[in-house]
Amino acid sequence: MLKIFDYLFGMFSNDLAIDLGTANTLVYLKGKGVVIREPSVVAVQKMNNGQQKVLAVGMEAKKMLGRTPGNITAIRPMKDGVIADFDITEEMLRYFIHKVHNRKTLVRPRIVICVPSGITQVEKRAVKESAESAGAREVYLIEEPMAAAIGAGLPITEASGNMIVDIGGGTTEVAVISLAGIVYTKSVRVGGDKMDEAIVQYIKRKYNLLIGDQKAEAIKIELGEAYPGNGVRSMEVKGRDLVSGIPKTHEINSDEIRDALSEPVNAIVDAVKICLERTPPELAADIVDKGIFLAGGGALLRNLDILLREETGLPVFIAEDPLSCVVLGSGKSLDELNLLRSVAVSS
């Protein structure tokens, strides 16, 4: 009987898949695709009694900062892939669910939430409860590498091994997947944010020039590369000279940025190598045949696939839409309930 109701409710509910990333949150609406792509930022105001009042979430929060005076601070509830603040995470979930979910229907949505693979039981329960109190009927948790693998189109239900490297904002997760389960996973707290940070520190050390995170990200996108490519690109960067204190412009090139990114990139390469060493040889042989798949925003770093190919000797491929892989994979699982039930982690 319950299954019939479930089926009936499923016909009317606006099921959602949410990728709660360190840098960005993506929301997939069943039947519509990715409908939200906003920064995982919450603007809070500290009250006199010490409590925090949420003023805005996502893009609105990012716009508020630096424009509105007062005691408004930005909080990133997901730090290095870990939920640092559950209350704020709940507020963020509530905001995105309400923004997307059609409140006109009487049915509460089924929600799939992507979580980091190293998540503890306590955190899983907390995320589930947060989503339920934010309005979910049913909550499923999927580990991010699994979602990324589904989104990348890998045959995860088969016996053969698949390796996925999901390079997100806060973490990089390397996972070997077989028979709809994660056989081995290695997570490192290095991702896009650490790359931006590395660029900021490099330019500060070399030129005594301070640049913001957004500029660093723009430099990463424009000039960043993991392996030398064809030609050297350069661009002008405006920052604050830390000796004179006034704005200053400097030219930097791709060779310098490659140098700046070497530490975080090498950390990712090391994680992949460790994963390969520790994978059972039968699955490793499958990976040798099929190759390594890159997903997440970090996969877009120029020539990272070439570097990994050089270091591991294996074919390396970049997923078709690496930025949306995780949420697309979660969304795909919404359409296939059996798949969802097989890949979801229990709390």
């Binding site: 630096g66 005691n71 940070e197 604050r240 004179s244 704005p247």
Partner: protein, 346 residues
């Protein structure tokens, strides 16, 4: 662009406080430039500084020290970069409000001999600009909020980073300012709710720093004295111009002055050209009846409780057993000329 005020704020972490402070300064001080001295803060705070530097553009300077040099050295660094005629030192716990700067700028403008100016503390955050409130001289400023005349800085240099970074360092700077002909004052026309910067380190270390600061001050400026004057009887305050000027000088040198006076003399003293408006000068009005007896009792109490207090006998009778006015004036003048202090103009 020329700014009338440069605001120097040393920063070391405390991102919430720094954001509040900078946001309030940005909004309430439109004619001031903000000089942020970053003492190796963590990235979270550095982001905030960069955010405000970008927001304020030419109105901001953001400099970083290679290592955490401490508050006093950071302030000195900020002072060396300032070019406006007035430099306001602010610590990150301060939250400014619209109109807060104008009373201090006005007070500095109308009193060119004031080198250091602090706002009155623990007010409700309202400026009483426009109301006629006196400037009260004091023997030290505050690293919480203090306006420094750039001319003074050019003359005597920055704060002594070897001292405690607190009371004795401030007293030393006020003494150096006084030697260069500048006064330290507090203005009642700007009231601000602010806390002094927190002193870091263990209690033992803090006490040790205070002791070292006090010792250095003693070596440079000599012992701080306490004096008691008795103005009793018709005309006691008349013709005491030289003495009262010396009293102000002594107070500016760090001496503590207690003046016991009957009501008539008390009124004359308050209205005197020397004003006697100094933190270090207390005028106690004696009761109108049995005044002489009250004066004797008060003097006995003072002798019993303050062994180092010097009674200055204005009557010339020798009854108080203390110094004569002439001796007091000579001693004050001697202290003004005798003591060495290092590093002027540095």
């Amino acid at each position: 662009m020329e700014y009338s005020v440069d605001i120097v704020i040393p920063v070391w972490n405390r991102p919430v406080e720094v954001r509040s402070c900078l946001a309030s300064l940005a909004c309430s001080s439109p004619n001031a430039r903000i000089i942020m001295v970053n003492c190796c803060s963590e990235r979270e705070t550095e982001r905030i500084l960069d955010e405000f530097a970008e927001l304020l553009d030419d109105r901001a300077m953001l400099v970083s020290t290679q290592r955490n040099v401490g508050r006093v050295a950071a302030i000195n660094h900020g002072l060396s970069l300032a070019s406006a005629p007035l430099v306001l030192l602010v610590h990150d716990g301060v939250v400014a409000f619209p109109g807060w700067l104008e009373p201090m700028v006005d007070a500095m403008g109308t009193n060119p001999d004031i080198g250091l100016l602090i706002p009155a503390k623990n007010g409700k955050g309202k400026s009483t600009h426009g109301m006629r409130r006196a400037l009260l001289e004091t023997d030290h400023g505050s690293l919480g909020v203090m306006m420094v005349r750039r001319e003074l800085y050019a003359s005597i240099g920055g704060f002594d980073a070897d001292m405690d970074g607190d009371l004795w360092c401030l007293r030393d700077y006020s003494r150096r300012a006084e030697r260069a002909g500048f006064r330290t004052a507090r203005t009642e026309s700007c009231r601000l709710d602010y806390a002094e910067p927190q002193q870091l380190g263990s209690l033992q270390r803090q006490e040790e720093r205070l002791r070292r600061g006090a010792q250095l001050y003693l070596e440079r400026w000599g012992e701080q004295r306490s004096y008691c004057f008795l103005f009793l009887g018709e005309g006691a305050a008349d013709g005491a111009d030289d003495l009262l000027r010396s009293v102000m000088t002594a107070a500016r040198q760090g001496s503590r002055i207690l003046i016991l006076a009957d009501k008539k003399n008390a009124v004359k003293l308050v209205c005197h050209e020397s004003s006697l408006l100094h933190d270090g000068i207390v005028i106690e009005t004696l009761p109108p009846i049995f005044t002489a007896r009250a004066a004797r009792r008060r003097l006995e109490m003072l002798r019993a409780s303050s062994h180092d207090m010097v009674m200055v006998d204005l009557s010339g009778s020798g009854d108080t057993g203390g110094a004569s006015p002439h001796e007091f004036i000579a001693a004050t003048e001697s202290r003004r000329q005798r003591h060495y202090f290092p590093g002027e103009g540095g």
